[in-house]
Every structure is written in structure tokens, then in C-alpha cells.
Symmetry: C2
């Protein structure tokens, strides 16, 4: 029996809940051992790791089990924290916002329910990982591509629901959702869009439905548990060309963005481009001790050395161009000419067939080919002892505008230096916006450094909001802080969310505190645990 | 003083409401004259025109006036029916579902608040019509295109909220919404996505926000009043080619769809294609009396004559290919070759520069050029005396699959014949679905014919749902019937909507009955007026 209890739940009630859960999913799928609970803390925690420790992990298999679990949890008022596979490192992984929540882990629900090659979609359960989907498509010889995020071990569903991004033309993962099945807190079962028909023919084809579309309400949300997700997949292109452009100077970011905008807007470059500076390469291929004393930040004067050693520019952008070869080659020429106008820019590219296999591909081009991998994990070995590095993300949105990109990049760089961290910025290029990801890498065994990382995120969140840059996702520790920045009309969005939460989950059992959305019921309030995030009224 | 009262509202309370509205918007913008009320009935009514007559029309100018109106309406429990410009002919125009609702008409709020040429978007108020937007872009020489629906007099906002479609690459209008401002029933004011920041830089650039995305909840909805809408606009292309393909036989629809699918999926054809049969041409260019006795349906044996006379095929598809000339020409060749494989298909096309003006364009290519017009109104002169024709739409979704298209087309054709109507089918081609629009044209002075049109829609709605084809929009008379078809899990979607409605609009004052969503409060129930639609429980 675990010693951790959900907030406001008596040992007796908790025991009844565990017994009930076991009756639904089987004893072996209700886990309360210290090892399992410790593994469901935030692996990259800052401060007390126990702040986000769950009281139990329940692993249902199938929608009926999920419905029974939420019904019981509503009845006994036991809060759940839903994760698909819980691999969202840097944002809390499977750790609940509130200590003692029962983790509802959906990884056993890992069926690929339908793949439609002709119409380009898949219907999956939340436990299906990018690796699983890729393997399935390869094994069955299906001419469709998935778009994958940096880490392929994550859930296709979880990533899309959290608004994750990939690097193919289908890289806006939440934008490619078409149709959901959702379990509500009272156990009711909703299918959205055309799925609301009894026997629909277009559930994964037409995003709309009849009347309001609720899908968006289940993104980054605690209003329901998504149990099936439709996703559009890209038909395998005849070929694709992956292009790399290296820029000499920090200030070239502005020109890079200005060159990119019209090419992204008119589809000449259809893949989501990804830019990163030289420090990203250094992080993947060396240890920071080779470069500077911890707390000093990367010495600017050694950037030329890093650029030479790793054969990269100060900024580097990579993108794919996809389609029929005769069209790809023209679009490639247009892009090459456009970037050629930037002094010092070095352009290179590789043409691949659409059915390229992993072993025939330059490994750094995997994301552009939709091939899942774990290469991005290398950052863990940058700051600390092997395997003891950690990172936490700051992810603001900027207009796809050169001067805004430069401004936001400098804002982060300068604050990072102030707190003793290097600036390893990267940007996804959508047709109209930039998704800036700054991953602060720190040594999780260095308390002082971890504290500085925490403080840096806090100040960046406030700085960003002051400049009109909103963050689009958050580590559990910062969910309230970021929600507070969305304060138009004295927090109208927070009031709206609180009303919906009360209507759909009156007992407040689904993921309390997620993205700063709290139920009205007392025990799950933000002050119920040792969160470092500022207190926040349930409703204004 | 009007004799019509909102349901459940006493004359005294109604008088107080009108006085309050007048104090907010000015006397001249609260209208209760018979002429105005008659003009806000359904122009294309079937049966008693008074069934959808409002009690008053209130015309606010500005979000503060809207907020004050809904606050007062909530306080006095006076139901409103929101329309932008109320020009949605065939679906009820500005007529409220429930007789006696006060029409909240937003046509005075017609400001184009921002146009961003560089990043391709516009922020508009709901009264801005497609004509207004086009004129503004032309006058200011802004290199952006709007995508326009069949009738250019409608509201950009209203059309997008109702999931309208156009014929350019940006033809999925609701899919191009980015950021909303919404007044809730209690007068609270919400801005969605990045608009929830106090001073955002990416409100019209990034569709997501932080936490759940509520935009979809305000599509075809009575959960709020949208007072500002962000829409992405297409950068003006270098050129575009409008292609017309004519097919000899009814059964060619199947081949047409099969040829189109891969070209739409891979973007070779980026415009939303639009197919129509020969009867559409006949409707635009002749009167049905020339062809058949009313009630007989179009005689199949005269189709060859119609095809010759109007120089069209049995089926005809039109689509644009947009972009840089060297790419457009290759894609054009690919499309031409693909359709060349269909026996008897006749392909023709015209190349236009991206800055083509209306007078340099073949008028039938206006939709492909994003130029608003009223050409589609010609259908009104097909069935009756000049100006006395009417139409009512049946709009089911089908997979972008040849055999499904053929099946759905035949289903509608056969039922239409049974009820004595001709089948003038048309299809929008999205990359994965078909939006089938069947406009039943009838003589509004012929009671028997109007009744048959009504019965035909009813039977088609049921037939369609039985085959898994959902309708995506509805005339006010059929809103309940269609909502009933969405019965997965005993109507889970209806229960969900009812809960949200109660949470956001507890007095039930916003557009009661819209898309079958009714408040829990009694006076606005579907039985409160002489609706021909079946009775429907408020909640299951």
C-alpha cells in the first residue's frame, strides 16, 4: 500500500478506489510500488521530486475500462492525471501537476484501428507511439508517411493533443487531427464531427460536423480523456529534397526569416523548416565542460571554433521539399536562389526517393523523412555526468517576421546569459508563425543550477508575455504562471475554462491544474502541494 | 409596437427590453415595423411564413453595444437570434428558428480592422461582406486574395462560422479562421488563442493558444456572439490556370472523382474543385417550363439537347491551379493527362495573371479568382415567375471516393425524381471529402410544390444518415431533424451541447434551437412554435 494519498482523500476512500480500479483493469494494472511511483515523477524535476509523485498508476485497456474508471473516480472524488505514454520530457513527462493524483496511463491502448491508404488517414488509440505507427506502415508497405516530433517514443495522440510539431508538410500535428472519441468525466462517450453519426463514412475525412466542433476543447485539456484519434497522413511523395543552409552570423536570423516567409506562404517550401544555432550541434556532439565553466555560459569568442569543429553555421536551417521530381527540382532551385542572396549563406541538399529507408538516409535528415528516432536525447549528455543531464523548455510563439525573430532570440539569449546559461535556440517555421524552442539544459545533480534554470524560465515567461509572445506549452511547474499571462479582459479565458470545467467535470477529477485549469472543488487547489508556481485563484 | 412577442415574454417585459435596447443602440436601430419584420422572415419559406417571424430587429454598432444587449436580454430573458448580414438564402437567411426571437443583426459592424499583406491575414467585424473585402483589397492594391462562396453579398464571418466553402486554395473558410473575439451570454468578452494575451503579436498567425482551443465551439453555434474574426488570406499568386473538364455520361462521376483524388491529395490541383451537372447550366440559362411540366422532373432523354444547347457535359468540373507560372504549367499538364484517360472527357483551360481584374476574366471563372458575384442567384428564375423561385439545400458529406460519390448522387437523383424534382447536383472537392450540394429549386407560389420540396429534404436527411452521410448545415426548418441523426451513443453529442449551453447561457437567450441546440429553460422549446420539424426532447 502506498503512503501517498490524493489530496482530500482518506486512506479508506483511496483503498476503495484502488480496489475498484483493480476490479476494472486487473490487479497487475494498478501499481503503487515505490519504484513505479518514482518512475512517474518528473524525471527532469527541479526541487523536491516528490512534489509531483502520484499515489498510484492505473493502466486500462480499452474505452470501457476508461469509462468505468472515471465513473468510479467521480463517485469517490479521486483525481486522475491522464497521460498517453508519458514521455513528454522537459514538460513533466507523466508527472501529475498535483502530488497524489492517480496517473491514468493509456499505453496499453496501443491499437492502430484503421489505416486508409487511399484517403490518407489513420485512426489510433492513445498508446500508439510514433515508432509503432512507422513500423506498421513499413511492415504493411502502406504508401503513407507519418510526421514525427523530436522524440519518436511519444504517443501520436498525446503529441497532437499537446500541439506538437514535426518537420514534414504535415508537421502541424494538431492541425491534422480529424475526429476524436472522448470519455467525459461522468463516463459518457462522445464521438466528434461525423463520428457523431451512428455509422459514419467520413469521420476521418471531414473535420467539421453539424453544430459546434468540440475537438479543440480537448487539446492541452482536462475536459475529457481522448480514447481514439483520427490523424491525416501524407501520401508518400515521389521524392523529396532535404536542404541545409548555413549562415555565418547571429544577425543572419533576420534575413533567414525574411527569405523563408514567402517560400513558406506560397508552398515552395512545404516542409516545416527547422533552424538551430551552432550550440545545438555542440550539445549533441560534445560536453559543455570542454567549452566553459558551469554558470559562465558559452563564450562568444569560441563560436567560430564550434562552427568549424561541427561544420555548422551560427544559424542553420533545414527543410524538405516534397512531391513529384520535376516540381521538386524547380522549387529547390527557387529556394536555392532565394537563400543565395544572403551573403555567406552556404546551401546544400540531398534528393531522396519517397520510399527511402532509414539506412539509406543521412541520419540528420530523419525528421524530414518522417522517420522516428531518439537523436534529440543526446542533449542529456551535455550538461552533467552521463545520463544526468536534464532540460526544461521555454516555447514562445513569434510572427514569421525577421525583426521579431531577432528580437525574441536576443531577449532569450540575454536573459540566459544573465542566469549563466548558453542560448541554444531553435525555431520551427510554419507559414505564418515561428515556434521558438529554447531548451535549458542543466545538471539535475546541481541544485543551484537547477534553481537558476527554474528562475530563468519564470523570468522568460513574464518577459515574453510583456512583449506579446505567448507560450504554447508548459512544464507542469509553470502551468499556472503561463495561464496567468493570458490575462485579456482580466483573465476571460481562465473564467471561460473554469465554467466549462465545472459543467463537464463537476467533481474535478480529470487532471486538476492542467494548463492552469482548476476545478471549483477545494482539495485540488494549487496550494494543496508544494508547487513553486504562484498561487492562483480558482476563479476571478 | 409589434404584435409579435418572444415566447414566454409578457408585453410589459418586451416593452422594457425594447426601451433598453433603444437606449443602447439608438431608437432608429431597434426596428419593429411590419415591413422590417416581414423582410426578416425566411424569404424562401415553405408553409406559414410567420413561423419564423422575429418580434424585433436590433442593430448594434460595436462590441460594447453587443455586450450591453446580451446582458439586458439575459436579465429580461428575451431570446435573440444572431445574424451577421442574414443573407444565407436556402438555409433561412435571417429568420429565427423560433418565432418572436429578436434578431441581433451585426451588419453595422462592418469594419475591416486590420489587413496584413506580409503575413496574409485580415481581422474583420461580422458585418464585412465578401464584396467589401474584395473592394478594399483592390482599392488599396493589397496583394492578397479572398476566397468567396457562391453569393458575394454574405458576411465573411458568417460564412466561415457556418462552414461555407469557396473555390480557391483557401476555400475551406472555417479552416482558415485564426483568432476570434466572442461575447458570451452574460456579456463577458473572450478573445481566443493568442488573443487571450493582453497585447498579442500572433493572434491572427498561430491558431493554437495555451490550453483548450474554443474556436470550434462557436461554429454553427449558439454559445456566443462572434464580434471579430481573424481569417488567413492567400498571397496573390503569380498566375493561375482555370481548367474545365466536361464528361459525357452520368456514370463518369466515378472516374472523375478517382482521377481527382490523388491530384487533390498531393496538391497538384490546389483549388477546391467544383463539379456540377448539365442541369445547373440549364437552371442558370433557361426556365424549366421550356423542358418539362412541373412535377415531372427533367426528362432524361432531353439531356443531350441541354448539353448541346449550353455546351456542357453531363458532368462538368472546374478547378484552378495557382502559383508560379513554371510550376502551374507543369501541374496543368499533369492534370490534363490524368483527365485525358477518361473516355470522352473534354479538357480546356485559361491562364490568367494573378492580378487579373474582373473585366478581363471569363465571368464563369470568378469563383476561382476569388471575385465575389451574385451569378448563383440565377437559379431563382428557373422554377417560377420572375423573382418568385426559391431553393432549399440538402448538403451531405461523402468520402472523396468514386463509388461513394456515384452512390450518393444516385440516391439523391432517385429520391428527387420520386418527388417530382430534377437533380441538379454539385460537388466541392476537398482533398479527402466531397461536399455535395443539392439545391431543390421550387416555385414559392406553388404550395403543393413547396410541400413536396419540404418532404424531399426530410426523406433525404434520413436516407443520408442511414448510409452514413451526415449533413453539415441546415435550413432552420430542419435543424432538429438533422441533429437527431447524429445519434451515436444515444445522442452523446446532443447531451454534450446541452451541458455547454447550460453552462454558458443559463437563461437560454442566444439563438435558441440553432442546429438543434436548445436551452433547458422552458419557453424556447421546439414546440413553442408551429415548426414542422419533429418534436425533440430538450435533453435525453
Amino acid at each position: 500500500m502506498s503512503q501517498i494519498l490524493p489530496p482530500g482523500v482518506t486512506p479508506e476512500r483511496f483503498a476503495a478506489a484502488l480496489a475498484g480500479f483493480a476490479a476494472i483493469v486487473g490487479d497487475e494494472h494498478v501499481q503503487t510500488s515505490e519504484e513505479v511511483l518514482a518512475a512517474h515523477q518528473d524525471e527532469f524535476h527541479i526541487g523536491d521530486p516528490g512534489r509531483h509523485t502520484p499515489s498510484a498508476v492505473v493502466r486500462p485497456d480499452g474505452v470501457d475500462e476508461v469509462r468505468a474508471i472515471v465513473r468510479l473516480a467521480s463517485e469517490l472524488r479521486v483525481p486522475l492525471w491522464t497521460v498517453s505514454t508519458g514521455r513528454n520530457l522537459g514538460y513533466g513527462a507523466s508527472a501529475p501537476r498535483v502530488r497524489g493524483c492517480v496517473v491514468l496511463e493509456l499505453s496499453r491502448m496501443n491499437r492502430i484501428l484503421e489505416v486508409n491508404e487511399k484517403l490518407g488517414y489513420v485512426l489510433v488509440e492513445p498508446g500508439v507511439r510514433f515508432f509503432d505507427l512507422y513500423d506498421h506502415l513499413q511492415r504493411e508497405g502502406i504508401a503513407l508517411w507519418a510526421s514525427v516530433p523530436g522524440l519518436g517514443w511519444g504517443s501520436v495522440t498525446g503529441n497532437a493533443l499537446e500541439r506538437g510539431l514535426g518537420s514534414t508538410p504535415y508537421g502541424d500535428h494538431s492541425g491534422n487531427i480529424c475526429g476524436m472519441e472522448v470519455v467525459l468525466a461522468d463516463g459518457d462517450l462522445l464521438r466528434t464531427g461525423m463520428g457523431a453519426l451512428r455509422d459514419p463514412k467520413s469521420w476521418q475525412l471531414y473535420k467539421g460536423g453539424y453544430g459546434p466542433s468540440p475537438e479543440g476543447m480537448f487539446l492541452q485539456s482536462n475536459f475529457g480523456v481522448v480514447t481514439k484519434l483520427g490523424m491525416w497522413l501524407m501520401p508518400r511523395p515521389e521524392c523529396f529534397r532535404v536542404c541545409d543552409v548555413k549562415f555565418e552570423h547571429e544577425d543572419d536570423l533576420e534575413r533567414m526569416v525574411e527569405v523563408m516567409r514567402p517560400l513558406r506562404l506560397d508552398g515552395t517550401i512545404d516542409g516545416q523548416a527547422l533552424a538551430a544555432n551552432a550550440l545545438r550541434a555542440a550539445q549533441n556532439l560534445s560536453h559543455r565542460d570542454e567549452w566553459f565553466e558551469r554558470g559562465a555560459g558559452f563564450p562568444e569568442e569560441r563560436m567560430p571554433e564550434a562552427m568549424r569543429r561541427f561544420d555548422v553555421g551560427w544559424w542553420n536551417v533545414r527543410f524538405g521539399i516534397y512531391g513529384r521530381e520535376e516540381l521538386v527540382e524547380i522549387r529547390h532551385r527557387i529556394a536555392q536562389e532565394a537563400f543565395g542572396a544572403v551573403p555567406g549563406a552556404r546551401f546544400s541538399s540531398v534528393l531522396y526517393p519517397g520510399d527511402v529507408t532509414d539506412d539509406a538516409l543521412n541520419p540528420v535528415h530523419r525528421l524530414q523523412a518522417g522517420i522516428p528516432n531518439l537523436d534529440a536525447l543526446k542533449i542529456i549528455d551535455w550538461p552533467g555526468a552521463p545520463g544526468r543531464g536534464a532540460h526544461i523548455g521555454f516555447s514562445p510563439i513569434a510572427p514569421l517576421d525577421g525583426s521579431e525573430a531577432q528580437r525574441q532570440s536576443r531577449m532569450v539569449r540575454d536573459r540566459a546569459a544573465e542566469y549563466g546559461f548558453e542560448y541554444n535556440g531553435s525555431f520551427f517555421f510554419a507559414p505564418r508563425y515561428l515556434s521558438h524552442v529554447y531548451m535549458i539544459a542543466f545538471d539535475r545533480d546541481d541544485w543551484d543550477e537547477a534553481q537558476r534554470a527554474q528562475e530563468l524560465v519564470e523570468v522568460l515567461v513574464r518577459d515574453g508575455a510583456g512583449e506579446g509572445y505567448g507560450e504554447y506549452r508548459a512544464h507542469v511547474d509553470f502551468m499556472d504562471l503561463i495561464a496567468e499571462q493570458y490575462d485579456f479582459n482580466d483573465g476571460a479565458m481562465g473564467r471561460f475554462n473554469a465554467r466549462i470545467k465545472r459543467a463537464l467535470d463537476p467533481q474535478g477529477i480529470l487532471s486538476p491544474g492542467k494548463q492552469g485549469i482548476w476545478p471549483a472543488v477545494a482539495p485540488w487547489s494549487p496550494s494543496a502541494n508544494g508547487s513553486p508556481a504562484p498561487e492562483r485563484a480558482l476563479e476571478r
